[in-house]
């Protein structure tokens, strides 16, 4: 949905705090996979979580393996 259409939608719904539309465009960041791995490496390794915050630690190994 382009910005002009979204602005028109807001103008047609004065005072509305939330407006739901079917689909907003996904951010097609070609560098996302690299950024994703960097975030995991910097912030989501088991060593990043002290004992009292272990419950926050993600278990990426439990993600289903990618199909070949």
């Amino acid at each position: 949905m382009d910005s002009k259409t979204l602005l028109e939608l807001i103008e047609k719904n004065p005072g509305a705090k939330f407006i739901t539309v079917e689909k907003l465009p996904d951010c097609t960041d070609p560098d996302w996979e690299r950024k994703k791995e960097e975030i995991k490496r910097k912030y989501l390794r088991p060593e990043c979580f002290p004992p009292e915050l272990k419950h926050l630690m993600p278990k990426f190994d439990e993600d289903p393996p990618a199909k070949e």
Binding site: D2, I10, K17, T28, L56, P58
Partner: protein, 150 residues
């Protein structure tokens, strides 16, 4: 939070949000996306929407003198997202160290209120801590409640 914020447009995935900042620089579309890192951890991507490239520009500076309204709107998007994904942990970091400091300043100014709704953590040199005022962090993480995760 009963504060001034912009109307939020969300889509049916509840992971994509847009709003329009209004000020001296004009009307500028902002986009917030929660991108899945796996196991209920999401990265918060936020910035100006580049219509031509169909992507978020997280390095742009709007200077629309509406920082607090923008922050309230982003906070509202985070709360809405967590309503649909209550087990999620959301990570945010600035695209530059200056922007990370700005985020920290804004979070610090609102920390007491945020803590009534969310658990807030800060990352220092690769390790997560409960966020405290006056300390410097590299990135931030929020979750709805701890007990949901245990």
């Amino acid at each position: 939070m009963n504060r001034e914020e912009y109307p939020l447009i969300e889509d049916l995935t509840h992971t994509n949000f847009s709003f329009f900042s209004k000020g001296p620089q004009g009307v500028i579309r902002k986009t917030i996306q929660f991108k899945n890192l796996g196991d209920n951890v999401f990265n918060l991507c936020f910035g100006d929407w580049n219509e031509a490239l169909q992507k978020i520009d997280d390095r742009s500076r709007t200077n629309n003198h509406d920082r607090d309204i923008v922050f309230n709107t982003v906070a509202s998007a985070v709360l809405t997202f967590l309503k649909y994904f209550p087990m999620a942990r959301v990570i945010a970091q600035g695209s530059t160290s200056a922007r990370t400091r700005l985020y920290q300043m804004i979070i610090n100014a609102n920390l007491a209120e945020i803590k009534t709704l969310l658990k807030v953590y800060g990352n220092q040199n690769g390790e997560w801590y409960q966020m405290e005022k006056g300390k410097s962090y590299d990135s931030f993480m929020v979750s709805y409640t701890d007990f949901l995760l245990t």
